[in-house]
Every structure is written in structure tokens, then in C-alpha cells.
């Protein structure tokens, strides 16, 4: 697992009401820190209101840890060139995320590349 330097994003309150970005608030994710998790896809859930990538990665002690990576809804994924077949169990991936604020292994997906560093998702 590789952890990249933190982003220095200015924290600005952009909405007066609950800042529902997708169907829930994004406050559950630490949007000032970006990190990349490298591992093996256990499952790709093409589901609504969010798709999820379940990725198994080694922690610092070499122990397997399963990460839950949240994505947008299938219609938006489709529009961005993703398909249910874009990821298969056993695929090696690097998933860049904003991690969960509570420290649990999970986050919201910013980008995904394969073992060769190629961006996943059909080029539109």
C-alpha cells in the first residue's frame, strides 16, 4: 500500500444545507487526504445508489485487509466509460481515494488504474 502526501485543500463550506453530493454527505470522507491502495479485486458491486470495489491489500504487517471503495451510481459510471465488466475478481488495481474519516479501510474513489498503470474505464 502506498500513501501519497496529503492534499492541502482549503476547507470551504459550500452548502448551507446538508452537503449531499451523491445521495449522502461527503463529510464521512477525509477530503484533505488522498491515498492510493494497491491490491486485488475480490468483488466489484455494480449497484445503486453506489457501486463498490472490494479490494484486498496488505497492511504494514503483511496482513490481508479488505477495503470498501465507494463509487458513484451506475448511470454516472456508464457515462464515464465504466461497465460491470470493467473489473473482475483477481484483477490487480491501484485505487486512489479520499479515505473514510473514521479510519476504517474504505473511501470514495478518485481514480483506478490497472497493474500497468493504465486508467480503467473505456475511453469515450
Amino acid at each position: 500500500m502506498i500513501i501519497r502526501p496529503a492534499w492541502a485543500l482549503a476547507l470551504v463550506l459550500v452548502c448551507v444545507a446538508p452537503p449531499a453530493q451523491a445521495h449522502h454527505s461527503m463529510a464521512m470522507f477525509d477530503q484533505q487526504h488522498e491515498m492510493t491502495v494497491s491490491g486485488t479485486v475480490r468483488e466489484f458491486q455494480w449497484s445503486n445508489p453506489h457501486a463498490y470495489i472490494q479490494v484486498v491489500s496488505k497492511d504494514d504487517q503483511g496482513k490481508d485487509v479488505e477495503w470498501s471503495m465507494e463509487m458513484g451510481s451506475p448511470m454516472y459510471l456508464y457515462a464515464r466509460g465504466w461497465r460491470p465488466s470493467s473489473l473482475k475478481p483477481g484483477s490487480k488495481v491501484n485505487v486512489t481515494i479520499y479515505p473514510l474519516r473514521n479510519g476504517h479501510p474504505g473511501g470514495v474513489v478518485l481514480g483506478v488504474t490497472d497493474a500497468n498503470g493504465q486508467t480503467i474505464g473505456k475511453k469515450l
Binding site: L9, A10, L11, V12, L13, V14, C15, V16, A17, P18, P19, A20, Q21, A22, H23, H24, S25, M26, A27, M28, E43, Q45, S47, N48, P49, H50, Y52, Q54, S68, E70, M71, G72, S73, P74, M75, Y76, L77, Y78, A79, R80, G81, W82, I97, Y98, L100, R101, N102, H104, G106, V108, V109, L110, G111, V112, G121, L124
Partner: protein, 261 residues
């Protein structure tokens, strides 16, 4: 005499056909006069939403340090709530932690991270999103049904009419929106919604006014706009089958996968 009878018989037989043709031509003419808004429309502030469900407009506002006041404006962040409205807003926030949802419902479906399709016919306008949510807006001149024939529903009951190229929609009997979706405004079931939707260049713009003496101190005015985002080439209906939003006591979180799915 025989000739006259034959002519009458022929005319009598032809009349239904003629009437049908005339009706068909009239409908075709009416259709041709109506606006045509093809394509898949997404809220302007949601355009370009990433694979993680993050709208670029949010990131830009953060980076520039500028407020983004019209993002999902129908959620009521700028609404003129009265005391009861503020009480309801506070209550919705209090119970929002980890709350799951079944869809957007009205009015949030007009402002949500989902494409919309506007199907315009002389008799009704269908507004459809990709989550099995459909609004039937009858434009055939019928009045709003009697109150005794109505009951609160997630999308309410709508009638509409055209003022030039502007579609005017009146909607009543919407279930309290925040009961269905936690990011929606806690308006009462007595709320009266009016939308005026028109094409402005490549944008669709809706001027919205909402009256609800139960929760609002005055008429709430807001605007929603849509553009055609890239990548959508058909509407796919998807149910909300896997909401893994949870709450750990301090923060919202992602629940473990349901192995049964």
C-alpha cells in the same frame, strides 16, 4: 333514388374515417407546435460528476474559496423556513446519520445526481429519471383532481400547461420529501409547487416557487437548471439495491458488503 341512397351510404361509411383523419391531423399539428427537449439532462452543478460521485463544481468552489449556493438548491438550504420549518430541518439533520434511502422523490429528483428525460406530447409531459421515478404532468387541459381524489405520494400530482415555449407545472399532494429522502426539504403535504421550465440556449431552466404556510414564512423562490452531460446514450432504470451507508456512532461509514448480494 338508388344513386342517392348509395351516395348517402358511402358518406355515412366515410365519416368516421374522415373524423379520425381530422383528429389525427389536429394532434399532429399540436405535436409539431410543442417544444422538443431531447437528450439526457443533468443538473448544471452536477455536470461532469466523477466515477466517485463528486461534482467538479464542488471541487472548484473549494479550490477558489468561493461559495456554491445553488448546488442542489431544492434541498432547502436557502428556503425561508418559519419556526416549524426550522424545527423540522433540525430534526431531519438529527436523524440523518447513517440513514438509508430508497430514491430521490419529488422535488429532489429535479435536482439530483441523475439524468432526466423530458418526453413531451400534446396530452402530457413525462419527466423520467433513471431510478424508476416518473412524473406525469397532464397538459390536456384537465383541472387538478378534487381533493377527495388525491392522497400524498412521493412524486405528487401534477397538471401543466404551455405558455409559449414555457412549461408551467403545478404540483400538490407530495409526501413530506424528507420522510422519503433525508437530503430533501421537510415541506408539509399541503405544499404547493409551481415550476416554469423553458429552454435557454443549450440549458433548461426551471424557476420554482413553493408555498407552504406550515413550514415557510413566505413563498420560496429558487432556480434549477440542467445541461446535457456527456456519456449518456440511453436511460437505464435501476433500483436502489445496495445502500451501504452506515453510522459508527461518530461518523457515517461504509458498511461491510452483504455477501448475499
Amino acid at each position: 333514388m338508388r344513386l342517392a341512397i348509395a351516395a348517402l351510404a358511402l358518406a355515412a361509411g366515410a365519416c368516421p374515417v374522415l373524423a379520425q383523419d381530422t383528429q389525427s391531423e389536429t394532434r399532429t399539428e399540436k405535436f409539431a407546435e410543442l417544444p422538443y427537449w431531447p437528450g439526457y439532462w443533468v443538473s448544471e452543478y452536477q455536470a461532469g460528476t466523477t466515477i466517485g460521485g463528486i461534482a467538479p463544481s464542488i471541487l472548484e468552489a473549494r479550490e477558489n474559496g468561493t461559495p456554491l449556493t445553488n448546488f442542489m438548491s431544492l434541498n432547502g438550504g436557502q428556503a425561508p423556513w418559519n419556526e416549524e420549518g426550522r424545527r423540522r430541518v433540525a430534526k431531519v439533520r438529527e436523524i440523518a446519520k447513517g440513514r438509508k434511502a430508497a430514491g430521490w422523490g419529488f422535488p429532489m429528483m429535479m435536482n439530483a445526481a441523475t439524468p432526466l428525460q423530458f418526453l413531451i406530447t400534446p396530452e402530457e409531459v413525462l419527466i423520467v429519471n433513471s431510478y424508476n421515478e416518473v412524473r406525469h404532468v397532464y397538459t390536456d387541459g384537465r383541472p387538478m383532481p378534487d381533493m377527495v381524489d388525491l392522497w400524498p405520494t412521493v412524486t405528487g400530482t401534477s397538471i401543466g400547461h404551455w405558455e409559449g415555449d414555457t412549461l408551467v407545472i403545478e404540483t400538490v399532494m407530495v409526501k413530506t420529501p424528507s420522510d422519503y429522502f433525508h437530503g430533501a426539504p421537510p415541506l408539509s403535504e399541503d405544499a404547493h409547487y409551481v415550476e416554469r421550465i423553458h429552454l435557454d440556449g443549450d440549458r433548461l431552466v426551471s424557476d420554482v416557487t413553493i408555498d407552504d404556510p406550515t413550514t415557510l414564512s413566505e413563498t420560496w423562490h429558487t432556480t434549477v437548471s440542467w445541461i446535457r452531460d456527456e456519456g449518456f446514450d440511453r436511460m437505464v432504470q435501476i433500483d436502489w439495491d445496495n445502500d451501504r451507508t452506515g453510522y459508527d456512532g461518530d461518523f457515517n461509514t461504509i458498511e461491510p458488503p452483504d455477501e448475499g448480494k
